[in-house]
Amino acid sequence: MLTVLLVDDDPEFTEVACTIIEFLGHDILTAANLAEAREWLTKETFDHILLDFMLPDGSGVHLFDELDALPKRPKVTLITGHPSVRGIIKGLCGPNIDYLVKPIQREDIEAALTGKKEKPNSGGPRIKKYFGHLIGESAPMKELYKLIERVSRTSANVMLLGESGVGKEVVAESIHAASDVTGPYIATNCGAFSKELIGSELFGHEKGAFTGAVNRKEGVFEQAESGTLFLDEITEMPIDMQPNLLRVLENKVVIRVGGTKTIPVNCRVVSATNRKMEEIAESKVLREDIYFRLAVFPITIPPLRERKEDIPLLASQFITDFNQENGTRFEWEETQLDNLMTYDWPGNVRELRHFVHRAGIMSDPDKTDIELPKTIESPFAKKQSTSPALEAGRTIEDVEKELIYATLEKVNGNKTLAAEMLGISTKTLYNRLHAYGDLSKDES
């Protein structure tokens, strides 16, 4: 987090810039002229100053002497209304000064504050984000976009089904973004609360409703008024709490815990579960009446392995995000993206994102090459090699060894079966394993 001083005489501009800079996570103070700026400099220490070139009481350049005298000289970015001023500034202040030319965009400010020269997305084609959130051009995703668009025009409750990590929350946000609603998007996880607290989380409580309820609290249904309420892991909600939820869904009113007044609620409920529909029905984790209230419009989100062609897009977006956050310039190589596509990603997009993030951390920040670990490992999946299976120059022994291990893994270590699949005798297989030093004597 940086402490930033913005010196500009246009109050509308400073107001908006403040909102944006605060959103970027920095502290910001403003001054409308040189005099105010000087006053701030005596009171506060700043990391960065965004300084308009033309101010009512003189040029921003006049501040430079004072800045030099400070114990800690803040970084300065000059804002000019005129591209040609650039040359003059360089002459006045040397080449080490940063400048922004109006009209300014959010990315410009971000880049100036983080000290990055290039605008993000300047290299390579921009990846389209559907509804501002979703990435993917594959057929299953196109189908999903169609469903989101259809349902967003209605106020129907949506239930999202899909494996862990497919992006249920992202889809919920997309539905909210696509809907023409005025209220906010509120998300909560039904699995994260104890039986005692979930009532208060969902419906709110009155002061003194239970020990520790020192203040009145609005529940998420109230918070999401005229907006979208996302209930994640709905199937983890204690079954004896479900009648309360049903009442809210049917009557469209909530009563806070410990309260008596009914409060009308009006929001779309998007719920999500990683269980399959049949499983929900069989295991009785969700009451049938609740299911039909919530799943007016069920949407199944495809797992990543069913849309592998989207992996390069996602991996590129994740590395771009990583670069933006860390000021690096990593780039994928075509073959690396191909390798990522051969993996099944049982943890879906979340696993891919973490994998890319980890690779980014492991790579040399001064280079553009991304170093991938030799294998993609997940406690939830079997090991898979990231090195191409067949590549010119690898020895036959190497490939053979890999093939033998891959086969053994496939048959859970059953050597007779593996030998049969490989078309060699069990004896040969044992001999090979011996040679790799992988068998103790008594086993052979």
């Binding site: 909102t19 209304g81 609603v181």
Partner: protein, 74 residues
């Protein structure tokens, strides 16, 4: 074109760029609101300000034309 005319135009252009800068920043706010980063009602406000700024900009340009036509460069 005389030097003073160019000077005057530079000043007008500077005035016209101010509303453009506001428009650019307000548009960023709308983007943030659509993203859900800030409350949605801020977008409405920002869009109103964008419309106001386009009028400012148009006004500044009209004024410039008028002054130039009158040959009143100062």
């Amino acid at each position: 074109m005389k030097d003073e005319e160019i000077g005057a135009i530079a000043r007008w252009v500077h005035d016209a760029r101010k509303p453009l800068n506001r428009i650019s920043m307000q548009a960023e706010l709308v983007k943030m609101a659509l993203n859900g980063d800030i409350p949605a009602e801020k977008a409405q406000d920002a869009l109103d300000k964008i419309i106001a700024s386009t009028k400012d900009c148009s006004h500044a340009l009209a004024e410039m034309m008028e002054e130039l036509a009158n040959g009143k460069t100062e």
